[in-house]
Amino acid sequence: MSEPILTLAGLDAFYGDFQALFGVDLTVSEGEVLAIIGANGAGKTTLLRSISGLIGNKADQVQFRGASIGAERPDVIAQMGLAMVPEGRQLFPSLSVEENLMIGGRVNRKGPWNLQKVFDLFPILEERKAQASTSLSGGQQQMVAIGRALMANPDLIMFDEISLGLAPVIIRDIYKALPGIVGGGMSAVIVEQDITKALEVSSRVYCLQEGRVSLEGKSDAVSREDIARAYFGVE
């Protein structure tokens, strides 16, 4: 296995005095696709928010490319090459499709992705580029959200609930695009409710339960029973 690009060491996370994550340890290797699964409210989104800096942590609880970033500001972390496709897409409603993509490119990192490349990946977006982002269908919005993250040319991209609320056909399209995205050596973390899909695209999987890692393993090696147990704590 190659060098870890991201390491979490004993990560705790809080919302006020409510603790949502308890000592999570996790690594992502260079070029790997990692899946994170878990029930509603298990803490998956919280985990991604902690990594991306939206929730402040202790500096050394999150290491990215050897730097301790746990206490960094989110914009600094973004500049370092960590991008996120947030849960529920969260496009900027006052920005057009093209502007949403352009704002993703603000960090100005060198790399293969640019506006044209994103349009090549999702041709429908080029047709709609001047439209308000809210007028798109859910699937198209998800494409914008992904394109927006890619525009930053990140080293590690994180997807939160990549297929949530999307029709099966669209989910299929999105997943079809995935290899083209992570193929170029980019590492990825994918949070997914659909376990079958999650296992299919990832090399390793973590399961969270109530803010703790309840399972970790190679995606092709974990069994359905393991997952069911890890998911609900069902014995």
């Binding site: 006020g16 005095d17 409510f18 603790q19 949502a20 029930a39 509603n40 409210g41 298990a42 809210t134 007028s135 798109l136 269908s137 859910g138 609930e161 949530l164 609320g165 029709a167 409710q193 659909d194 376990i195 079958t196 899909k197 339960q209 109530e210 803010g211 609900f232 704590g233 069902v234 014995e235």
Partner: protein
């Protein structure tokens, strides 16, 4: 049995997202109904429509003989509809006991010792009595969900709406939760229960509906529903040989 709740062609959309699409069904007094559907199907939104946190674009809701479509959430609560929130909504700066008291005094309309007595009893039943003096903001997720149930029960509901309260429970906890809900049901309270933990649901409900994209796609006896290939495909993600 008389009917207690009737949804009649209920529709609601947020821009392009349709969360309720001509939704209609009836619930009989004392009945327990299970609701299934994939994430984002509109299940929670349906509860929001019934409790009045959302206003439908069209359609009607009748509760206990009264058309409540345009009544306030508060009115609906006082007339006997109680719910638990999927994402718990505790009064974070109040203690657990005070959270319960809000429901007992405001919704159930009880006063003084009567209200306090009810809260104590319910807290005992939901195993939160030990935490009665804790600030609700500091509870773990599990206890927050228990608090949701506690508050709903302290409102002395005729209709109880439960939104994913079994998620994340251990087997033992799940069993005791099922027992609790069964006993609530046995006391004559009508129940609608959204749950992904299917076996828990199956242990309690008498009827099941399945929702996808805001549409009711199946309704009927639980076992039959679970066995239908359509439900298997949509809900469990088991794709029938594509």
């Amino acid at each position: 049995m008389t009917q207690i709740l009737q949804l009649d062609g209920l529709s609601k959309a947020f821009g392009a997202v349709t969360v309720a699409d001509s939704l209609s069904y009836t619930l009989k007094e004392g009945e327990a109904l299970g609701v299934l559907g994939p994430n984002g199907a509109g299940k929670t939104s349906m509860f929001n429509l019934i409790t009045g946190t959302l206003q439908p674009n069209s359609g009607h809701i009748t509760f206990a003989g009264e058309d409540i479509t345009s009544r306030s959430a508060a009115h609906r609560s006082r007339s006997g509809i109680a719910r638990s929130f999927q994402v718990p909504q505790p009064f974070t700066h109040m203690t657990v006991f005070e959270n319960a008291m809000v429901a007992a005094t405001q919704s159930a309309g009880l006063r003084g010792h009567e209200a306090e007595r009810l809260c104590i009893d319910v807290l005992e039943q939901t195993e939160l009595l030990d935490k009665a003096n804790d600030r609700a903001g500091g509870l773990t997720l599990l206890n927050r969900k228990r608090l949701e149930l506690t508050r709903a029960l302290c409102a002395k509901p005729r209709l109880l709406l439960l939104d994913e309260i079994a998620g994340g429970l251990t087997e033992a906890e799940c069993t005791s939760l099922i027992a609790t809900i069964k006993s609530i049901h046995a006391s004559g309270v009508s129940i609608i229960w959204i749950e992904h933990v299917v076996h828990a649901l199956m242990a309690v409900v008498e009827r099941l509906i399945v929702i996808d994209f805001g549409r009711k796609i199946a309704e009927g006896e639980p076992k039959a529903i679970m066995d239908s290939p359509e439900v298997q495909a949509i809900y469990l993600g088991i794709e029938a040989d594509v």
